[in-house]
């Protein structure tokens, strides 16, 4: 993203979808991404840049198109038109598998964990290490421990605990650690703190910061502006399917963000 765009919150909807404006240092760039569901236009010409090593918060009211947008990036469905660039190169993502191969990992709100399996088994689900067709539990357990340690997840007593016995924050941590262990470059999180209490929210926010400090790009959907302002480096606001504003968090205040979310424009002086 060019410097001019970082000055004021810009109306990004007007940018043309050419390769010219693509900054190769950006992990992910969307240009003019549009998605229809029949007559319903869920996304209108969305332009978004997600840098590596930073936390980008995607905010907006219910139905603003946040989930539709991340599902397009995650390969759940293809955009109707528009272009996606991954590290400066044009890409097409047709399936979740393709997204995963690029290094895009999505942690959905339901976390997709198996309660009846332990942490190690969940971390490796679908990617188990084997030795002569027998599960290599020792390798998997050591790597799980290491990954959790690297992410400073210290509240988990044993990696052989069943996921059913974990708290909400710990479950979130396991889901994120799973993405990191598979060398994700971009981690997308859908409402990671929505169902959590105060201390567990703090745990997850700390984890998000750790991810960014390790050079991973993080795209977080959140309704909670307190969390956003605590953890985000950049903010992107959606309103009725349009990305109305994006830029460094310093350009936003709580009230200007609320205005953007509810009306799509800043009505008061920031």
């Amino acid at each position: 993203m060019s410097e001019s765009a970082t000055g004021e919150p810009v109306n990004a909807g007007a940018v043309a979808d050419s390769d010219a404006g693509i900054d190769p240092s950006m992990l992910l760039s969307l240009r003019g991404v549009t998605k229809h569901f029949g007559a319903v236009q869920a996304l209108r010409r969305v332009d978004l840049d997600v840098p590596a090593g930073q936390v980008t918060a995607l905010v907006g009211d219910n139905g603003a198109g946040k989930s539709t947008l991340i599902k397009a990036v995650a390969g759940i469905w293809e955009p109707s038109s528009g272009t996606m660039y991954w590290q400066g190169k044009k890409i097409d993502i047709h399936t979740p598998k393709e997204a995963a191969l690029l290094g895009i990992a999505t942690v959905y709100q339901d976390l997709a964990l198996c309660d009846n399996l332990d942490i190690v088994a969940n971390m490796y689900l679908g990617f188990e290490s084997t030795k002569n067709h027998v599960l290599d539990e020792i390798t998997m357990e050591k790597r799980t421990q290491q990954t959790l340690k690297d992410l400073s997840v210290t509240t988990v007593h044993s990696v052989r605990q069943l996921v059913a016995s974990l708290s909400g924050g710990q479950r979130q941590s396991v889901a994120v650690a799973r993405a990191v262990m598979r060398d994700a470059k971009l981690v997308i999180m859908d409402e990671p703190t929505a169902a959590l209490g105060v201390s567990q929210t703090a745990q997850v926010l700390a984890l998000i910061k750790t991810l960014a400090s390790r050079g991973i790009g993080v795209l977080v959907i959140s309704h909670n502006l307190n969390d956003v302002f605590e953890v985000a480096d950049r903010v992107a606001v959606m309103y009725l399917g349009t990305l109305v504003s994006s830029g460094p968090v310093a350009n936003y205040t709580m009230s200007s963000t609320v205005d953007l979310i509810t009306t799509g424009v800043v009505s008061r002086a920031a």
Binding site: C114, L135, I138, L166
Partner: protein
């Protein structure tokens, strides 16, 4: 009855502050703690029947009881494959009957097939029937409960038709020595001891090897006394049983030794437990039962594994059928038992397999099957009418399901 294959998930070493009974038990036994109440119930039942009837613990009755349990055990194992995924197969009783009939018919002098070919044919047919239900459930997205209920009528009808057509009068006597020996044959006393000692030695070797390799890798190991406790329990039970089996139980001629059926159960139990606990295949079975959507997103071909589960269920019910027909000495339209499938579900669930999917082990139907056999055998010995046997079996099953449901509720509350 202990197993040589232990579960992977080890409960963490508990902090000293936790002094509840469960916590203390967990630290001794490990994650198998759920089976403890079931074993206690089994011991209570055995003591009760022995007090009421002096012949209950006699070698001939214990052997008889094991033979009774074999069919329940294999049917229970068959149902575990399905229950693990949150499915059920209500046709397994008739599928077992189909297997037994095929084996009896083709080994009969009229056809004269070698026993292995007849057995193989029976098992292939049963696997195919299971596979058919699986494909219907998966492709048409129907509940397995209804598909296999319909299936049980179909298999029943086809089976009775075959029995009527092949032999006038609707019966196929078992004329194969191998088929009869499945439940009648015994190991020699020497081989009984060799087998018993081999089971203990292999279990000890596996447990210690696993402990060593975890220790070598610098991973947390369960306290060593846990291994000792398990091995001592295994040794005591195995040696007691071997001694019982080796005592002469014949009235006129000498009958001694462990029934062939026992090592066969151990073999199947060992293979199935290994698959479930140590391979990707088993891991995916648990994952699908635990959270089907999560398994799908992890790239597991969920529907293919669901069909595999139905096939394995059919296959294992086929094994049960071979033992069933062996015990009855043949199969006829009058030896059909519509309640057989309920024993399959009961054996699995009484042992601790969850009806909601994702929780269960192959050792559970072994314990469950033995409990069912103890109830049936014991109630007959103390001369309770057979109608009451049904009622009591039903009450036990109801109790087991209630425990399962409560366990599930407390697990959900933990979150």
């Amino acid at each position: 009855m202990a197993t040589s294959s232990e579960p992977i998930p080890e409960t963490p070493v508990l902090e000293l502050t936790k002094t509840t009974l469960t916590a203390r038990l967990t630290s001794v036994i490990g994650s198998d703690v759920g089976i403890v109440p079931v074993l206690i119930a089994l011991v209570v039942l055995i003591i009760y029947f022995e007090l009421r009837s002096s012949v209950f613990l006699k070698p001939d009755n214990i052997t008889n009881l094991f033979i009774q349990a074999i069919v329940y055990i294999f049917l229970g194992m068959a149902e575990v494959w399905l229950l693990l995924l949150g499915e059920i197969d209500l046709s397994l009783g008739w599928v077992a009957g189909m297997s037994g009939s095929i084996a009896a018919i083709y080994t009969n002098i009229e056809f004269g097939w070698p026993w292995w070919l007849a057995f193989l044919t029976a098992l292939v047919v049963c696997t195919a029937i299971g596979g058919l239900w699986g494909v219907i459930v998966v492709k048409l997205n129907l509940p397995s409960f209804i598909v296999t209920l319909a299936g049980s009528f179909i298999v029943e009808g086809v089976l009775l038709y075959i029995l009527d057509r092949v032999f006038e009068g609707g019966g196929a006597p078992s004329q194969s020595t191998v088929l009869n020996n499945l439940t009648v044959g015994n190991l020699t006393p020497t081989w009984t001891w060799i087998f018993t000692i081999a089971v203990i030695a292999i279990s000890a070797a596996v447990m210690i090897f696993r402990e060593r390799s975890r220790r070598a890798a610098g991973l947390e190991v369960p306290p060593f006394y846990r291994i000792v406790v398990k091995l001592v329990a295994l040794t005591v039970v195995s040696v007691a049983l071997a001694w019982l089996f080796n005592t002469n139980r014949g009235a006129f001629i000498k009958i001694e030794g462990m029934p062939f059926a026992v090592p066969l159960v151990f073999a199947v139990l060992g293979i199935y437990s290994f698959i479930l606990a140590r391979t990707k295949f088993g891991r995916y079975m648990y994952a699908i039962g635990g959270n089907r959507e999560a398994a799908r997103r992890a790239g597991i071909p969920v529907n293919r594994y669901r069909v595999y589960a139905f096939m394995l269920g059919g296959f294992t019910a086929g094994i049960a059928g071979l033992f069933y027909v062996s015990r009855l000495g043949g199969y006829s339209s009058s030896s059909t038992d519509p309640s057989l499938v309920l024993y399959a579900v009961a054996a699995a669930v009484i042992g601790g397999t969850s009806l909601y999917g994702g929780r269960g082990k192959m050792t559970y139907p072994v314990v469950g099957g033995i409990i069912l056999a103890v109830i049936n055998n014991g109630l007959v010995l103390i001369q309770i009418t057979s109608t009451m046997v049904y009622v009591i079996t039903g009450v036990v099953l109801l109790g087991a399901i209630t425990v399962d449901s409560l366990a599930r509720k407390s697990q959900t509350l933990l979150k």
